[in-house]
Subunit: 149 residues, 2 copies
DNA sequence: CGAATTACATAGGCAAACTATATAGGTGGA
DNA sequence: TCCACCTATATAGTTTGCCTATGTAATTCG
């Protein structure tokens, strides 16, 4: 009992959470999902080449070139030539990009906290216990899928 | 103990889940989040006027007019004049729209299941138990926020 | 050394959002 | 009744972010 009563609970929860995060927890900057993920990748793993960033984010190389031009115009990333290969351009996160990313995360966390504050203490506790149990599994899933991120 | 070890577990889980759903569980159709949510609203609540749909989805009226024109061109929605008010256009879901929506949900569920199949039985069980606990709370949160959907 | 390959850029198109504004239909007061 | 105002939707023009097709410069290999 229990599990069979709602076999699609994972799917429904994931969909519900996605709607919540995409529609009700806005970011303070105008960064798209791809833009934020690209900056995050640069923050975690250091300078990368454009083609690498494109495949990591699942977009085409021209799309990534265009995105990076906007991010560069906004001062969030910089370009460095690759000393070992004249064709390659290495993209690195700037100070401003790092700050933007940290601010984005803390702002969204704060906004989510505001929403969670409308729940009862008990409901919040249920959510926190469930999140702690599910987080490692969900992270494993994403990291397996995004091995090249 | 436990809770304090990772106070941002809910935020991290929600972000991780969002990335998973947005980047790794694609829909079979090309519907945007707003398009799918609009069709879903029509499916659940029947014909609505354009302005109503726009405010429900948090977009402007011209954006909704444009979206509905594309959905109408694709045969997913139809237009009916309001007999009581000549200015009003009522939008209704077509048969094809209904089929598209059902197909979308079942396809995404199947794709998610494929991903979940890469986990161990134990990991999947952890996720399912967590989802069953968290789902009612998450749904309450979204329904409170999207009361006019 | 020249041909093929690789890395990135450019051009042009579509989707989906926005603001500002136009038009047609409805409503209310002098 | 009629005109002024309000409301519902449509149109125009801009921006972002994705796409495909193609161009150019650098590297590698036969």
């Amino acid at each position: 009992m229990g599990v069979d009563q709602n076999p699609a609970a994972v799917g429904e929860l994931f969909e519900t959470v996605t709607v919540l995060m995409m529609r009700h927890v806005p970011a303070p900057d105008g960064l798209s999902l791809t833009a934020a993920a690209t900056l995050g990748s640069l923050q975690r793993r250091g300078p990368r080449r454009i083609t690498e960033l494109a495949t990591a984010q699942g977009v085409t190389q021209p799309s990534m070139t265009q995105l990076l031009r906007r991010l560069e115009d906004a001062g969030l990333v910089g370009r460095v030539p690759d000393p070992t290969d004249g064709r390659v351009v290495l993209i690195e996160l700037t100070e401003a990009g790092d700050r933007t990313l940290r601010n984005r995360w803390s702002t969204r966390l704060a906004r989510l906290d505001t929403l969670l504050a409308t729940l009862s203490d008990e409901e919040r506790a249920v959510l926190e216990r469930a999140a702690e149990a599910a987080l490692p599994v969900a992270q494993k899933l994403v990291h397996t899928l995004a091995a090249r991120d």
